[in-house]
């Protein structure tokens, strides 16, 4: 490994999730930058392409996560960045976004999908799989 860990941008307005996930990722040796606004995250990523984006599906608006993922995949500078979508909306009010096939996952412009709460081990495994880094 050339360097310890990867640069991860975390997008969520749930302070608990940001705090806990940042700790888990940082402990594994990754560098985390958190945003509670998808637009700010997008602007940042265009200037500083990270190795991975973890975004909640609903950040302020209902499908902000999808919107961010689409914009990232549509932009030349950011298209290569793997995206993990997380959400707590799975069962509430009949919403279930859980993709069942790779095609459904791709239609979300996402590379991995988790329902909250996310198991730290499963998240770290997804980070490893999508970036090829095990962290520090």
């Amino acid at each position: 490994m050339e360097r310890s860990g990867v640069d991860i941008v975390l997008v969520d307005d749930d302070p608990d999730f940001v705090e806990i996930t940042s700790s888990v990722l940082a402990r594994a040796g990754h560098r985390v930058r958190a945003f509670d606004d998808p637009d700010e995250a997008f602007e940042f990523l265009r200037g500083h392409p990270a190795d991975l984006v973890v975004s909640d599906l609903m950040v302020k608006t209902l499908d902000a996560g999808f919107g961010l993922a689409r914009r990232l995949k549509a932009s030349e500078e950011t298209r290569h960045i793997p995206i993990i979508i997380v959400t707590a909306a799975s069962s509430q009010r009949g919403f279930d976004f859980t993709p069942h096939t790779d095609a459904e996952l791709a239609s979300m412009s996402a590379d991995a999908f988790f329902n909250k709460p996310v198991e730290p081990a499963a998240l770290l495994e997804a980070v490893r799989r999508l970036t090829g880094h095990t962290g520090g």
Binding site: D13, D14, P15, D16, F17, E19, I20, T21, S23, V24, A26, R27, D36, K60, A88, S91, Q92, R93, K116, P117, P120
Partner: protein, 492 residues
């Protein structure tokens, strides 16, 4: 027919001997006798009693002749036996008498048997005629009754809100009540119409199953969708007492509202689960990073994480106790202990309890009383405390440091009003409209870090409703909010 009542006979003759002779014969035979000495007296006696079975009438009498009397009596009583008794019996007068309405005649002089024989046979005929009439009348009454019964049953079935339909063994609809007709896609067709015109496969199958189920009187029931509503259908065979199936009857009950209720309950449970899951997941996550050492060793950071855990746990506990309140209110186990209560005193207690918190957040919390001090309200003290604790707590939560929270008591003729007004965040109109909904919380940058259950205002609304009071809210985004609770003054 055996007639137990004593039959009454009217004897009209101007000869005393004749009258008394007849009386003796008739009384011996068990009749009751009334006599009259001329035609006029005879009519008067008839009109006075009106319950004679027969009249023996002499033709030649003063004041009113026998013929005139017969005509007058016959006009009033079609069934009385009228016998002419005359010494001047000629075919001519006899025919005349019969034409006027007499039933027969007895020539004078006569033996007791010559009197009794025609009388008895006439009375028998009369009795038979009366009995026939009675039976006819009875049958007509019974028919009327049956017709009425049938129309009554039809009316009742038609008035039912449940739809009722009957099919015969040939799978034809033979009866539909009004509610059933309304359900049908083509209600115009007159019964019998084939089952298939129902246009509801499920209902057809149910009725078919009821027709086929034979002697077991089973009832099939399931949820059936028809014309945008949900029905519970009970179908059962229509059978004779011998168990022969004549057809099948289906009763359709609209359970759409029950279904909706059950769906909204499910939705509520799912929301509760979600609301409980989030803070629990947060607590679990924090505990995990503490336990695994992920959070590091910095005591300040560990303390801050524990603080967040504590906040989430407190939110959970508050949510659970508010849920319990809500459930208690819904099931009616939550009973108010209402007594004349001085609102000013109670509200100022609550305000005092919040002073420390307001001060520490740099908010000025003040209480103003107009002229409401003397009027009491009929209220439950705990409920009132709960209402204003929630409102003042919210006002402090959603107001910036340096802001103001004013609690003001006032009254009009009927209501005591308590206003809780802040110059805090305020809210958008669409949020204001939903503010009393369960679990509704305004999500914005400003409120993201504020813990809450989303149940407080819902509890406030229910408690105020239970007091037959009113709660309203005025607000504009960035311009603060004002909640006004109005409670009716105690009459006494």
């Amino acid at each position: 027919m055996e007639n137990k009542t004593i039959e009454k006979i009217l004897v009209v003759d101007d000869e005393l001997g004749m009258r008394e002779g007849c009386r003796k014969i008739l009384v011996l035979e068990g009749f009751q006798v009334v006599t009259a000495e001329d035609g006029q007296a005879g009519l008067e006696a008839f009109e006075k009693h009106r319950d004679f079975s027969a009249a023996l009438i002499d033709l030649k009498m003063p004041r009113k002749s026998g013929l005139e009397l017969i005509e007058a009596i016959r006009a009033q009583d079609k069934r009385i036996l009228l016998l002419v008794v005359t010494a001047y019996a000629t075919i001519k007068t006899a025919v005349k008498a019969i034409q006027q309405g007499a039933d027969g005649y007895i020539p004078k002089p006569f033996t007791p048997d010559e009197l009794l024989l025609p009388l008895r046979s006439g009375l028998e005929k009369r009795a038979l005629a009366l009995e026939t009439e009675r039976l006819k009348r009875e049958r007509e009454e019974r028919l009327l009754e049956v017709a009425f019964e049938r129309s009554k049953a039809n009316t009742i079935i038609d008035c039912m809100t449940d739809a009722v339909m009957v099919v015969n063994r040939d799978r034809q609809i033979v009866l539909q009540n009004a509610a059933a007709v309304r359900l049908m896609p083509e209600p115009a067709c007159q019964p019998p119409s084939p089952l298939s015109t129902l246009g509801c496969q499920e209902l057809c199958e149910l009725l078919q199953a009821a027709l086929d189920c034979g002697s077991e009187r089973s009832i099939s029931s399931q949820e059936t969708r028809l014309g945008g509503c949900t029905y519970m259908v009970n179908a059962s065979p229509v059978q004779t007492t011998a168990g022969k199936t004549l057809g099948a009857v289906a009763v359709l009950r609209d359970i759409s509202s029950l279904k909706k209720l059950s769906e909204s309950k499910s939705m509520f449970v799912s929301m509760v689960a979600h609301e409980i899951k989030s803070p629990l997941a947060a607590i679990e996550g924090y505990l995990e990073i503490l336990r695994s050492g992920t959070a590091g060793q910095d005591p300040d950071r560990i303390r801050s994480i524990l603080g967040r855990c504590q906040l989430r746990a407190r939110t959970l506990r508050e949510m659970v106790s508010e849920l319990m309140n809500l459930v208690a209110m819904e099931t009616g186990h939550f009973t108010l202990k209402r007594s004349p209560t001085e609102l000013t005193e109670l509200v100022s207690e609550v305000v005092d309890g919040f002073q420390d918190r307001a001060r520490s957040k740099g908010i000025e919390l003040s209480l103003h009383c107009d002229d409401g001090r003397d009027k009491k309200v009929l209220a439950d003290r705990d409920a009132v405390r709960c209402i204003f604790t929630n409102l003042i707590d919210n006002a402090i939560k959603y107001t910036h440091s340096g802001g103001h929270v004013d609690v003001r008591l006032s009254r009009n003729d009927v209501y005591m009003r308590v206003s809780v007004k802040d110059d805090g965040f305020g809210m958008k109109d669409e949020d204001r409209q939903r503010i009393f909904e369960e679990f509704f919380r305004i999500k914005s940058d400003a409120t993201a870090e504020i813990p809450g259950t989303g149940l407080g205002l819902c509890v406030v609304k229910r408690l105020v409703d239970m007091h037959q009071g009113k709660v309203s809210v005025k607000s504009a985004l960035g311009d603060g909010s004002e909640f006004v609770v109005s409670l009716r003054q105690d009459e006494d």
